[in-house]
Symmetry: C2
DNA sequence: CTATTATTTCAATAATACTTGAAACGTTGA
DNA sequence: TCAACGTTTCAAGTATTATTGAAATAATAG
């Protein structure tokens, strides 16, 4: 993941509705959720949800798959991991205070 | 670190000049660097560098300390760690594909 | 084929953010 | 105190992004 991809991904997450969408999709795991369900969950009109979902999809953070009338969105955990990995490795040079937060939910 | 703080931090990093500034400051470690040195390093006019530095400082990602005529900026590694920890823990629920990227520079 | 449901696209408006250069501020040395 | 230096603040113009509701597309059931 290069610099401009990371900027796209960070920008995609730096917005209340989209961060909520991502968190909601995380709870759905591999089942994913449709745009309508997502919009309801984050209290957004369908056109707004669609707009933000396409921003997230363009940044590679979610995937979209049509299932009959619905389009199922899922978190792309790989992309999230790549983005976070860039922050930890390339950006912060694996600084101790940064990696200390990794798999320890209590501190972070 | 709560949701709105994370959004501020993500938004602060989602910009080319500011991401470069942060990466430059990481290489400087605890020595830090002055606004002028930073502006030169990232090829930005001093007023632009100052503007972006205050955005980063407001988000808590850098600290500022006056040393005679200069103001020395440093990365706040703790804040970076908190932000990344939020992404890994609260946001991604410690999903395996995400934490896989943690301290392994080769993958991320 | 038509009606229905789910979703996206579009245009207009509003809000936010970036850049630039000039002016103002704070600190230090003479 | 004055002049010089480093830094920040400000205002104006430009660009990007968010929101809304309406219209358009896509898929399916009857």
């Amino acid at each position: 993941m290069d610099e401009s991809q990371v900027i796209d991904a960070l920008g995609a997450l730096a917005q209340e509705t989209r961060l909520r969408i991502l968190r909601f999709l995380v709870t759905k795991g591999s089942d994913g959720a449709s745009a309508g369900e997502i919009g309801e969950a984050v209290d957004a009109a369908s056109s707004r949800a669609s707009f933000h979902l396409s921003t997230l999809a363009n940044a590679g953070l979610v995937t979209a798959e049509r299932k009959s009338r619905h389009i199922i969105y899922r978190v792309n955990f790989d992309a999230m991991g790549s983005m976070i990995g860039y922050l930890i490795n390339d950006c912060c040079g694996n600084h101790q205070d940064v990696i200390a937060c990794c798999p320890t939910p209590d501190k972070c």
